[in-house]
């Protein structure tokens, strides 16, 4: 995560909080093998404004977005394991060959 990434995430989280919206924050907490993004990469899923940041795009990210919607609905954090080892020659987007462990947490608009 670069300083600018941290900055844009902060702005997005604060905007959601000020607008009173619940959103979800996804963080790659560990990886194995080759993955498009590394530990620390983050994405905010805001049902109103969409995505800020990326955890690597493609099918893996779609799984995380799905989980994020569940997390926003239930208010309960979740761990998502994204497996990109599927089929190295299938030309699917999931050909990086690694596994990502992602923590997806609800971000409430209330002051904690």
């Amino acid at each position: 995560m670069t300083h600018d990434d941290d900055r844009s995430l902060t702005q997005a989280l604060e905007a959601a909080r000020e607008a009173g919206r619940r959103c979800a924050l996804a963080t790659i907490v560990s990886t194995k093998g080759s993955t498009p993004r590394k530990v620390g990469a983050r994405m905010i899923v805001d049902p109103d404004t969409g995505l800020v940041g990326t955890v690597g795009g493609g099918c893996g990210e779609a799984e995380v977005i799905e989980a994020a919607y569940r997390v926003i609905e239930t208010g309960k954090a979740q761990r998502v394991n994204v497996d990109l080892t599927d089929d190295l020659v299938s030309w699917s987007p999931a050909v990086c060959g690694g596994v990502m462990d992602i923590f997806v947490e609800p971000v409430s608009p209330e002051r904690s």
């Binding site: 600018d4 941290d6 902060t10 963080t27 907490v29 530990v39 923590f103 609800p106 904690s112």
Partner: protein
């Protein structure tokens, strides 16, 4: 104390390093009653370390703080998962660390400085541009620079104190200005993280002759990256800026600067043609 809100935590990750401090944020990511709880440890030189938020029960806070301090003290530590044992319970926590922001000081506000300032900002440097000409040292010419300063090259770093997080690039319009700034940067103790000076082989040699004549220790010459940048055949100001930026990354991350194709040799190693 209650848990730190994610927005407040990421704000600390931005603001503390900008103030020259370090910050560690711990988040419980294992599945238990503390999941999502956050605590931050802020360490700024000459200030008392500060805690924000809470992680777990009172009994576990001390061991969490100790773990965060250990991580901060290890210069090689990076973001990742850790285990914390509290009252026979093993907790999985995710720890993020941010160190003081690195600075890029571009001396000279000419045509190479412009793409350099952009790339420097893109790479996460706090960028300062210095020139003695007011019409060149303008924020309009350097929209991504944090500071644009007009200063005489006889005392270029007066308003921009250099330290061990500074990366100094000398790209002024004239050899004599580069030299005046170089000698000041070289005499810094402790030295800046990086000193780069633009110039042809001839110009660099002439500079070194002059430095030695002025009594600068031979060992100090090795601190200077000159000619500046990696050898990628750069010609335009933009290309030169990329070559310099690549060198800055190499210094930061400890790479070799060699093409990965040549490092990995995948064809040679795995796809040898049968003869």
């Amino acid at each position: 104390m209650t848990s730190l809100h994610p927005a407040e935590a990421t704000r600390l990750l931005v603001e503390v390093p900008e103030r020259g401090g370090s910050v560690v944020v711990s988040t419980v990511v294992g599945d238990n009653q503390f999941t999502g709880n956050r605590i931050a440890l802020i360490v700024i030189e000459n200030e008392k370390p500060e805690l924000r938020g809470s992680l777990i029960l009172e009994s576990g806070t001390d061991s969490a703080i100790q773990l965060m301090k250990d991580i901060l003290e290890n210069p090689h530590s990076s973001d990742g998962l850790h285990k914390l044992t509290v009252a026979d319970q093993s907790l999985e926590i995710y720890i993020e660390i941010r160190r003081p922001v690195q600075e890029l000081v571009v001396v000279g506000a000419g045509h190479i400085a412009q793409p350099l300032a952009h790339l420097g900002a893109l790479l996460g440097f706090q960028v300062t541009v210095i020139d003695d000409r007011p019409e060149f040292a303008t924020q309009e010419r350097f929209p991504s620079a944090d500071k644009v300063i007009r200063a005489d090259f006889s005392d270029p770093f007066r308003d921009t104190p250099l330290h061990t997080r500074s990366h100094v690039l000398l790209v002024t319009r004239g050899h004599k200005y580069d030299y005046a700034c170089l000698i000041r940067a070289l005499q810094m103790d402790p030295p800046p993280a990086y000193i780069g000076m633009i110039g042809s082989r001839r110009r660099v040699r002439a500079t070194y002759v002059q430095l030695l004549e002025e009594g600068i220790a031979h060992a100090l010459l090795d601190r200077i990256h000159a000619p500046v940048g990696l050898d990628i055949g750069a010609e335009t100001p933009e290309e030169i800026a990329v070559a310099v930026a690549a060198e800055l990354i190499m210094v930061r991350r400890g790479g070799t600067g060699v093409s990965l194709k040549g490092v990995e040799r995948i064809v040679e190693r795995f796809f040898k043609e049968d003869k």
